[in-house]
């Protein structure tokens, strides 16, 4: 092995570079898989959003309300009528709150002694039935109904990971009973937290939009309403949208309020995830491409290397080495080469992580994430080298030693 030191150094440098790239790929793929495996934190099966709107002044049917209360009362009547439909299990009205919607509101929520002035959080304004519609659960196992009651009383419920990014606190459970300050002025009490809601299927709950809070909605947000969302009973999805729209102009108009259209959350989900899907697909295509290429390269290199050693292999066989001896020897050489670059590779991997070139997942350096990526890269390299040596070596050994030596 030492006899070939010059060629081996080149080979080592190549292995080093390739293993760093493999680490980089493994790191990215780890992030994708880990993100996809996080629980969504909500459920939109059998859910629909009714786009409820108000007539414009130009409409012949426009009615001028005397007070906001009247306007609000009409909306609540509409919600009651929707809830009264036999297919509907639960209904809620909200502002910038439903899953898969691109509009966000943010606000500052200080919890206990942690000031969040530089880390505003998503705020979802909802009525207490929101939890039932989207099956959101409390961190302590509170049911949707219990969360609704707490929201009515306490006005704000933050997600359990509200302090995770800012202060590294994984759960708020220990802090129940402490004070919270909303928007720098309203003092409230922390009574419960909910299991984090993902922003979309491809965004981790550890990201900026992974922490959020619910605020009890009120009449001030009538103009910013995104609609009334409903959960339909399990076996009653069929023709729900058509039937509802058929009734929209007859039964579902109250005052200025009307139902403009109905979207299923399956549709909203596809639309909203589209860019993320495309992005993830690109990452995976590039990763696969590089893997194939690296495999071809390593296979090719070791193939030729081993072929060139036909004569040596033949000589060893003549001098009495068994096939498995030779295998062990030349595969071992490849793996020793790999082992010798591994420490350097790990240092470079660490530097890449340290200087934030790798993918972000709950921080750049996270021990499990790092170790899994390093290990995955190493195993892949070892496998490729093994395959790249095994086949040509077997071929070299299958011909008789005399023939091999003559062929040279």
């Amino acid at each position: 092995m030492l006899a070939e030191w010059r060629a081996n150094i080149w080979m080592a440098i190549e292995l080093l570079l390739v293993s760093v790239v493999l680490f980089f790929l493994a790191d990215n793929i780890y992030t994708v898989i880990a993100t996809l495996n996080e629980p969504l934190g909500f459920n939109t099966d059998h859910c629909y959003v009714l786009r409820v709107k108000e007539l414009a002044e130009v409409s012949p049917d426009y009615k001028a309300y005397e007070s906001r209360e009247d306007r609000y009362k009409d909306l609540l009547t509409l919600k009651e009528r929707i809830l009264a439909r036999p297919e509907v299990e639960a209904a809620t009205w909200s502002s910038n709150a439903i899953p898969y919607n691109p509009n966000n509101s943010t606000s500052q929520l200080d919890i206990d002694t942690f000031s969040m002035a530089d880390a505003p959080m998503l705020i979802r304004r909802v009525d207490p039935d929101f939890f039932k519609v989207f099956k959101i659960e409390g961190a302590n196992g509170e049911t949707a109904e219990q969360l609704g009651e707490i929201l009515l009383k306490e006005r704000i419920i933050p997600s359990d990971n509200a302090l995770r990014r800012k202060a590294g606190i994984r759960s708020l459970k220990e802090m129940y009973g402490k004070q919270m300050v909303l928007g720098g002025h309203d003092t409230l009490t922390l009574r419960a937290s909910f299991k984090p809601m993902k922003y979309n299927d491809y965004a981790t709950v550890h990201g900026w939009a992974g922490a959020s809070m619910f605020e009890r909605i009120n009449g001030h947000y009538l103009g910013f309403m995104e609609g009334i969302s409903v959960r339909v009973k399990d076996n009653m999805d069929k023709d729900f949208q058509e039937n509802l729209m058929a009734d929209a102009d007859k039964r579902l108009r109250v005052g200025n309020w009307y139902v403009a259209s109905v979207d299923s959350f399956d549709f909203l989900k596809d639309e909203f995830n589209r860019n993320s899907v495309a992005e993830m697909r690109n990452v995976i295509i590039c990763a696969l491409f590089l893997l194939v290429n690296i495999f071809l390269g390593i296979l090719g290199t070791f193939w030729f290397r081993t072929q060139q050693r036909k004569r040596e292999i033949a000589l060893r066989m003549v001098s009495g080495a068994t096939r498995s001896d030779i295998f062990k020897r030349i595969v071992g050489e490849g793996e020793i080469l790999l082992l010798s670059v591994t420490p350097f590779a790990i240092v470079i991997d660490y530097l890449l992580t340290h200087y934030e070139f790798t993918s972000w997942y709950d921080g750049y350096f996270e021990p499990v994430h790092f170790c899994v990526s390093v290990l995955a890269a190493w195993i892949l390299m070892a496998l490729m080298i093994g395959v790249g040596i095994y086949f040509p070596a077997r071929r070299a050994m299958s011909i008789s030693p005399a023939a091999a030596m003559k062929s040279e």
């Binding site: 190549e14 259209s261 979207d263 495309a278």
Partner: protein
């Protein structure tokens, strides 16, 4: 004549030696072809967002401002903190963009489409995506009218209830596209169809909707928040890309004047390098951030570099193995009087052949990929009406990748062959490296 013959001979020799080692030649070609294929696909994925195609035919010469950033002295606003970011009001657009003289067209329109309630007697009402625009929209965008015509300045000024609808919607409402003048109701307000246009791809994000109505016909022009903000975006079209500096200069002048007037009530605007060209616009998703184009370019460069370098490193180490194999051959030929030049030229031509074959395969692969349902792959499942391969195909990038692969093939072949042709002929003959 002689040189032609010599060149021919080089080609034959190079081809011969490629054929002699089919496995290696195939692997080299496959590696290079894959690299070119992937780079072309990635570039095309990006190109879809910036290449001009109808109705956004003016993408190359327009400047986009989807929103503005406002603050107030009383809030203690700074560009990074306590600013409000979002759509603009019609008033603001009138006092800034409409005041500009250089642009050949300007349009105010709602950036996100509104879900609207549509109905005609005898049919179940349904929802459709509505965009509120001014008359300039039809000059900025390049729609194909099947019947009728766009709404005009007079319609916008008087807030007339007229609508342009797309052909799918026309069929859904009236079972025909020949429906100019027919009435239907949008959000319980009666409207009349003034034109029907061909459907467009939802990749043309600024133009796409199911129906377009004057922004004055439903009160969108009067909607405001923070005095100057609203729900509108604006696009201005410069005579050509070369006029961007002049247009920006005029933009800054107009905004300086406007801002000083608004500043009297404490309002401040943060321009964040607006308005954006199409490339900047698609890479700046949030209106509360400065565009980071250097970062985007760095990222793209890194991706291309990795995609080209890894195959290159692999190829070169394989070529090296191969040439070590050929040391003996080179030795023999040198012994029989071949000049170093002759051997080097052959290696040069060999690399050229590999690169050209690989380039062609990569090119054909990428084109085949796009044709075989790849179009929607490009656009992440979006529909691709009106998009053709020619629009997203980038010859410059193809040329650059090809050149790069050629250089890598060449370098990886030249260095060892140079060494081989230099070494003592006897050593070369024994195949030993010394």
């Amino acid at each position: 004549m002689t040189t032609m013959k010599t060149k021919n001979r080089y080609f034959k020799q190079a081809w011969g030696s490629l054929k002699k080692q089919p496995l290696l030649s195939i692997v080299s070609i496959a590696g290079t072809a894959l690299a070119i294929f992937l780079i072309m696909i990635i570039v095309m994925i990006d190109e879809v967002k910036v290449a001009p195609f109808a109705p956004e035919s003016n993408r190359e010469r327009w400047l986009v401002q989807t929103g503005a950033s406002i603050g107030n002295k009383e809030w203690g606003s700074t560009p990074d903190n306590k600013s409000s970011n979002g759509g603009m009001s019609y008033e603001l657009i009138r006092r800034t963009f409409y005041e500009m003289k250089l642009p050949i067209a300007a349009s105010a329109f709602t950036w996100s489409n509104m879900e609207s309630h549509l109905s005609v007697p005898g049919k179940i009402p349904f929802g459709a995506r509505r965009k509120d625009t001014d008359h300039g929209f039809w000059k900025v965008m390049d729609f194909t009218f099947i019947t009728g015509h766009p709404f005009e300045e007079a319609d916008v000024e008087s807030g007339r209830q007229v609508a342009v609808i797309n052909e799918t919607l026309a069929r859904k409402l009236f079972d025909t596209t020949d429906c100019e003048g027919r009435e239907f109701s949008i959000d319980h307000v009666p409207y009349r169809v003034c034109g029907v246009v061909r459907d467009v791809s939802n990749l043309t994000t600024h133009a796409d909707a199911d129906l377009w109505v004057p922004l004055t016909s439903n009160g969108t022009d009067k909607f405001t928040w923070c005095t100057y903000m609203g729900s509108l975006s604006c696009i201005i079209v410069a005579p050509s890309k070369a006029d961007f500096p002049a247009v920006r200069e005029e933009y800054n002048k107009v905004w300086d004047k406007f801002e000083s007037e608004a500043g009297e009530a404490g309002w401040e605007f943060y321009r964040r390098q607006r308005p954006y060209d199409q490339f900047t616009a698609v890479n700046t998703s949030a209106s509360n951030m400065e565009p980071d184009m250097a970062g985007v370019r760095r990222h793209n460069f890194l991706v291309y570099a990795i995609l080209l370098l890894i195959p290159a490193i692999n190829l070169s180490s394989m070529t090296q193995s191969r040439l070590r194999h050929r040391r003996e051959e080179i030795g023999v030929r040198r012994a029989f009087g071949a000049t170093r030049m002759a051997i080097m030229s052959e290696i040069f031509i060999e690399s050229l052949i590999i690169t050209i074959i690989a380039g062609l395969i990569g090119l054909l692969l990428s084109i085949a990929f796009i044709f075989l349902g790849g179009k929607s792959v490009l656009a992440g499942g979006a529909d691709v009406t009106g998009l053709s391969l020619g629009m997203v195909f980038n010859f410059r990038v193809f040329g650059i990748s090809l050149l790069f692969c050629f250089l890598m093939n060449l370098i990886s072949a030249t260095v060892p062959s140079w060494q081989a042709s230099r070494t003592n002929i006897v050593n070369s003959l024994t195949g030993e490296k010394k």
